[in-house]
């Protein structure tokens, strides 16, 4: 059983397009996250939601908009894609309300913007 799943696994698109990445966790966790891993493997947090409420919103262009329809899902919508958005995006989740609990990561979505 997949604990944290993401779709799609690969996404290739043109500059200027709008795309979404979906994330679902079946661990019963309350907190979910989006991370970006660039070409140098540097991992940085983008957003965190706890029970559908935005908790962390890093300095991310407002072209990126997370949406959490329920605590098991956290989607990431990206408007007007740019070349610099090419990266691997990881979703993660952690139990409870504390943001310090161990995080479990999804398989990642490799986004390529042409």
């Amino acid at each position: 059983d997949t604990a944290v799943s993401q779709t799609p696994k690969y996404l290739v698109t043109q500059m200027g397009n709008d795309k979404s990445i979906k994330c679902e966790q079946n661990l019963g966790h309350d907190t979910m996250y989006w991370y970006k891993q660039d070409s140098k493997k540097f991992l940085k947090i983008m957003f965190s939601y706890n029970n559908k409420e935005l908790i962390i919103n890093e300095t991310v262009p407002n072209r990126f908009s997370p949406k959490s329809p329920d605590k098991a899902h956290l989607n990431l919508h990206i408007n007007s894609l740019e070349l610099g958005d090419s990266a691997v995006y990881f979703c993660a989740s952690s139990p409870g309300q504390s943001l310090y609990n161990e995080q479990f990561f999804g398989p990642g979505t490799r986004l390529t913007v042409l």
Binding site: Y33, F42, F90, Q103, F105, G106, G108
Partner: protein
């Protein structure tokens, strides 16, 4: 803002040898994490270190935490090829998990 630095960034080891990866962090971190990432794969949690002096071991890997020195180490004993991966440490501050740059470990015969 918490900064986390790992060294070395690249580590080429012979099978059977021992080595240590170092993780320094800049301000108080509530917890320290070690993750492993295989090429093209997700991150797998290895260790969570909660307090000063914490030591955890799993197989050939042992992690420790010195909060006074703001240092965590990941010690590899008698390396085997299966340990080849990228290892990340991460610290938490104000609810955010901040990762180091990652250490790419290659174990060769």
């Amino acid at each position: 803002e918490l900064k986390v630095e790992q060294n070395p960034l690249f580590l080429s080891m012979q099978e059977g040898k021992n080595y240590t990866i170092y993780c320094n962090y800049s301000t108080t971190s509530d917890r320290l994490y070690w993750y492993r990432q295989d090429p093209g794969k997700s991150l797998e949690s290895l260790f969570v270190l909660l307090s000063n002096g914490a030591v955890k071991q799993e197989g050939r890997l042992m992690a420790s935490l010195d909060t006074k020195a703001r240092l965590s180490t990941l010690h590899i004993t008698a390396a085997v090829h299966d340990l080849s991966a990228t290892y990340f440490c991460g610290g938490t501050s104000y609810g955010k998990l901040t990762f180091g740059q990652g250490t790419i470990l290659t174990v060769h015969p």
